[in-house]
């Protein structure tokens, strides 16, 4: 399981419960759980937030972590992903190619946690986003069902085409009853996105999408993946930038989220990012708890196939 698409509501519930349990556990006791276990963080793409979060999670459980990044290893000498993987034990993988975790799992038969693959998925981010949403909309709830987010509408706004966070969220949130509205211009949000899964809609008008939503998730334009695609940034800002005025006028109560890194003054203004409706810092906090749960599940169920993130 390397994709949010493969999660059932029951599994999601287990992960959330475990995350809360681990978060509350005595740190010394918690550090016994994976003592002396070795976990490799295989990062083929630069990352600060996700890498730190997974590293803190693994260390919090007492595991020894080895960071292998593309700037300090045989990766840059052209060793294949398969050959690198064969030398390791359990792997947390961030990779610029969509599907790379499947290759690694197939070829190494090790537990692999997907920490983001190309434009494809970032399932641990979707789970931490879910935990953040639940903490505000259903505080105190520790288990979830297929109706946990019934009546909740989440707008995902911006560069959907190149976003693995968007894909994981649009697959995960409807499983718990949420309605997902994708919002963005045609070149960054093709119509075929509707076919990605159930419970997905497209609304190109940002203000209409905001008015319908309890949660507004903003995405960065991924300049590094545009591959020649021309986006007029001024026009983009005119139509899709989240400003205090827009927020006050159309979604004064909505929760504002962003997976980071944020580009202040592009997809949202600094005031919104730091404003009272913003959960951006809180998302980071939920990340460590979720990833502790994912790492523990991956290493404590060797009989099962890799438990994903």
């Amino acid at each position: 399981m390397l994709s949010a698409g493969e999660l059932t509501p029951e599994t999601v519930s287990e992960i959330l419960t475990l995350a809360t349990q681990l978060e509350r556990e005595d740190p010394i006791q918690r550090a016994q759980r994976l003592a002396k276990r070795r976990i490799a963080l295989l990062f083929y793409e630069s990352s600060t937030r996700t890498r730190t979060s997974f590293e803190l999670a693994a260390k919090g459980l007492g595991a020894d972590t080895t960071l292998v990044s593309s700037l300090s290893s045989s990766i840059e000498k052209g060793e294949t992903l398969k050959d690198t993987g064969l030398t390791l034990k359990a792997i947390i993988l961030r990779h610029p190619s969509s599907g790379a975790p499947w290759l690694l799992e197939r070829e190494t038969r090790l537990p692999v946690l997907n920490a983001g693959d190309g434009m494809h998925e970032h399932p641990s981010q979707a789970l931490l986003d879910l935990r953040t949403i639940l903490a505000h909309l259903s505080p105190g709830v520790e288990t979830v069902s297929a109706h946990a987010l019934a009546g909740v509408t989440v707008a995902i706004v911006g560069d959907i085409l190149h976003s693995r966070v968007a894909r994981s969220n649009m697959l995960l949130l409807p499983k718990l009853g949420a309605r997902v509205i994708l919002c963005g211009p045609k070149e960054l949000l093709p119509e075929v996105a509707l076919e990605a899964g159930p419970g997905i809609e497209i609304e190109r008008d940002f203000t209409r999408a905001m008015a319908l939503s309890q949660v507004v998730m903003m995405l960065r334009i991924q300049a590094e993946r545009l591959a020649g695609l021309q986006v007029d940034l001024e026009e983009y800002k005119t139509r899709y930038q989240l400003t205090e005025e827009r927020l006050a006028a159309h979604a004064p109560k909505a929760l504002v989220m962003h997976p980071g890194p944020i580009i202040r003054g592009l997809e949202l203004t600094g005031e919104v990012a730091d404003g009272p409706q913003s959960l951006i810092l809180e998302q980071v906090h939920h990340g460590v708890a979720i990833r502790m749960a994912l790492v523990l599940r991956a290493l404590s169920q060797p009989a099962r196939k890799a438990v994903g993130a």
Binding site: G118, H120, V192
Partner: protein
Amino acid sequence: MSTILIRNGHLIDPAAGVDGLKDIVLRDGRVAEVAEPGKTTLGKAKPGPDLQMIDAKGLTVAPGLVDIHVHLREPGQRHKETIATGTAAAAAGGFTSVAAMPNTVPTNDSPEITRWMQAPERNAAIRVFPIGAATRAIKGEVLNDYAALKSAGVVAVTDDGHPILKDSIMREVLINATRCGLSVIQHAEDTRMTGGCSMNAGATAFRLGLRGMPPEAEYGLVERDIRLVTELSMNGKGDKNGHRPHLHVAHTSTAQAVAAVRQARRNGLRVTCEVAPHHFLLTEEHVGAYDTNAKMNPPLRSAEDRDAMIQGILDGVVDAIATDHAPHASHEKEVEFERAPNGITGLESALGLSLRWLHHEWKLPLGRVLSLLSAQPAALLGLRGRGTLSVGSFADVLIFDPKQEWVFQAKNSRSKSKNTPFDGWTMQGKVHWTISEGRVAFQAATA
């Protein structure tokens, strides 16, 4: 060279209009006689050192198959395939002629390489017809010497995986090839639209986070090429020697490309096309969890496109089934999907898949299937004496059981590479013998 007598087989030779029990005598690499059972001039001769008897009772005898699109990887990439291993795989699949693409290392730009590929030292099991590079090093800039290539044995020119995008160059290629009586094969892909893409554009590509090749990249170039052929066909009169340009569209994969070929033919142009088994059987869904054996170029397309390939085959607009046999070593395919090379092997599964699906499932008559795999492709590239077993033709024979089912196992493949999405698939039609120019090139263990 000894004589071979094939007795009591059911001969299906679509080009000669034969469909019935016949005895066939092969002598000196040619078909010497085709007669009613027991009625050949050999009378009651006994097998001996000079006479081999093959009892084909209950089996079908047909012209050896002709694949006009294979990559044999020699010279230059022997770790993927050699002419010897590729043609051994071809013989096992019932083929007696293959046309080899020029994207070798170096590319086939010269009479020297063309002759080298056909030299006896290559140990080819069957006949190899080299296809020459249309432009030097398949860079789409400077035309090669077609007359010299043709005299060395090339049967067509193409730049294969590096399609000729510039109108002016493609026009020159068509003019020069026509003057020399050569066909021009185009891998139709407007590469300006497909940079960084690794599968078909659409919902599946979006879901998998992969960049997709739009169908327009294929049919747009087919339409451009047809415009050039229209222009150069001089109202059907051809050039001063009466030659008309022949454009052959390789591995058609989109409904619109087939429609464009259909229209071109209605307009009286010499435009032909081929379809590969994977394009009439599989869709983009087969990429599954990033299976690199479902990665090829052109990519697996939508179900509508797949259905259009089947329709094109059934209604006759498709002229040939060709495999685009493209071997790659396992270490080359076991990489990230986006980094994996394009292509799959196909020589040993083409007949079994065609019979299983086109004939058995979709009821295309056996003779039509065999024609698409032999007579038509041979005619398309002007391979004289191939694709038929009329007296005087080359003794290229396929003897098979059209009813026998079997399971294709990639690990048993004679190709050096095992990159196929059809591993474990049930095939229909077991090859018992393949005879190339009067020599047994393949004999099944049970035969």
